[in-house]
């Protein structure tokens, strides 16, 4: 008996597909087929977004993925209280040594660790991104992919291991109204750095010269880096759901995935003035409670989360350097715990 046979014969069995469940699923489909009549909610929302005010939603546009709640109907119930415990953030496994002057990393990842480290200069015009994965990444192919103008493709060596170095250009949009979209040139280096550790260096601007990309690759050392946005505490039984670009961090209650919290660094232009907070937030159900975080005035508001009857605390506070951050945490936190949690949020830009 091999493992596949074992999986089929001794793996977990499915519960029966009851006539009632089958009928309900079929009815839901027929309802959908029937047309675009006002859609009824057949189940408690599976994907819902915290419905904060327009300005806050705009600020959150770049990180919507992090606050989407994949709500299962599985076992468990929302916590009505939490115990804060020491918490260590996942890390990115590699570090360029030395780090090129003027570049600071921003990480993306999930509970298992960061998989992307983007090193860009202040303008965003020069830098490189490191990707780490267990699986061999899909390259752009020998002849390039649609939208990619392949310039050169060569085989090189990184620390004695075979590597593919590709130079190409492609349409690139910065999102900046002033610069808009244009063609940007990249150099991409991919190799299996260790067993089940594939690394890609994708460089642009001043860093895209092949010799510079190779130098970056060979400078990588096994030195884990903490995320830019860090927390020192977390509710017991919660874990990291995702973190993105050093601006968003979300945690999830492992026993009830509808219950999440997020830490967010809004862009400066998206920071809501404290005196406008109640107007900008959607669903405030209490007044602005003045508190102190990191020695600075902060604002705490209880809001209706807009789904599953949950309420959240919305906190807007600042780090000691004046950078604003916000928290959205369930009302299972006490006011004191929100502040205690916020005091342990750190930012290492």
């Amino acid at each position: 008996m091999n493992d596949l046979t074992l999986l089929r014969e001794a793996g977990p069995e499915a519960p029966p597909f009851t006539p009632a469940a089958r009928s309900a699923a079929r009815a839901a489909l027929l309802d959908e087929i029937a047309g675009p009549a006002p859609r009824r909610s057949r189940r408690p929302g599976r994907r819902v977004v915290l419905r904060l005010g327009a300005a806050v939603v705009a600020a959150a546009a770049a990180w919507t993925g992090a606050v989407l709640v994949a709500a299962p109907d599985g076992p468990g119930a929302p916590a009505d209280s939490v115990t804060l415990v020491d918490f260590a953030m996942p890390t990115f496994p590699l570090t360029p040594d030395p780090v090129p002057d003027g570049l600071r990393p921003a990480f993306d990842g999930d509970g298992t660790g960061a998989s992307i480290a983007a090193y860009d200069d202040a303008t965003g015009a020069h830098g490189f991104t490191l990707y780490v994965s267990e699986d061999e990444p899909e390259g752009i192919g020998d002849e390039g992919a649609p939208g990619f103008d392949l310039e050169a493709s060569t085989e090189v060596s990184v620390d004695g291991r075979e590597a593919d170095l590709v130079r190409y250009s492609r349409e690139w949009c910065t999102g900046d109204q002033a610069t808009g979209c244009g063609h940007r040139s990249f150099t991409r280096l991919q190799w299996e750095r260790a067993d089940d550790q594939w690394v890609v260096v994708l460089a642009h601007g001043r860093y895209r010269a092949p010799e510079r990309v190779l130098a970056i690759a060979e400078s990588l050392v096994d030195r884990p880096q903490p995320a830019v946005l860090d927390i020192g505490l977390a509710p017991a039984g919660w874990s990291v759901q995702a973190f993105k670009m050093g601006r968003v961090l979300s945690l999830v209650n492992d026993s009830y995935e509808q219950q999440t919290l997020t830490v967010h660094l809004p862009l400066p232009e998206d920071v809501v003035p404290p005196d406008q907070l109640l107007d900008q937030l959607m669903g405030p159900v209490g007044p602005v409670v003045p508190v102190t975080v990191h020695g600075r005035p902060a604002q705490l508001v209880l809001c209706d989360a807009g789904y599953l009857g949950q309420r959240i605390w919305y906190l807007q506070a600042q780090f000691e350097d004046g950078t604003t951050f916000t928290l959205q945490v369930p009302d299972a936190f006490t006011q004191e715990q929100v502040v205690q949690f916020a005091e342990q949020v750190t930012h290492n830009p």
């Binding site: 091999n2 309900a24 079929r26 839901a28 087929i33 994907r47 994949a70 709500a71």
Partner: protein, 197 residues
Amino acid sequence: MRALPGAAPTDAELMARSLADPEAFAPLFDRHAATVHRYLGRRVGELADDLVSETFLVAFRRRAAYRPDHVEVRPWLLGIATNLVHGHVRTEQRRYRALAREAARPVGQAADPGDSADRLDAEALRGPLAAALAKLKAHDRDALLLLAWGQLGYEEIAAVLDVPVGTVRSRLHRARRQTRAALGGVLPTDASEEDDR
């Protein structure tokens, strides 16, 4: 493939027909709901009742994007189901761990460790197997369970997960290696993975 005159329309024909006549989609539920539910049920237990419904709703909404030359309808549906499981990874892991704990309770005579692998009672491996599934990375588990429970081939898995076949191979290799390791080497390791395609 085109159906013979008088024969029931094929899945692909129903899909194509449903673009103009949405009701033509309904028979696909009747044909495949049980298969999709069983696949989901083995992964997420009772939550399958909801996810099978979600699977067909998503499939109906995305039917215009279905490409019959790319993958058949049954694998396509299992791919959608797999993506829906991603929103419930913790539920899935909890289920496996609970099954592992349950299986660990002594309920009679244990298997003789001196038995050959082929004669080992599969019942005795239920717990370790569930525990092993809980520990796999989600993407690796997807590939393994689409192969084992969904009966998909490598190409089909690649198509529904939208990854290269090489990635499927590496995920399966890793998943099967880790599963065998977790089972303590009681399985033959010389079985060709290619034979299971």
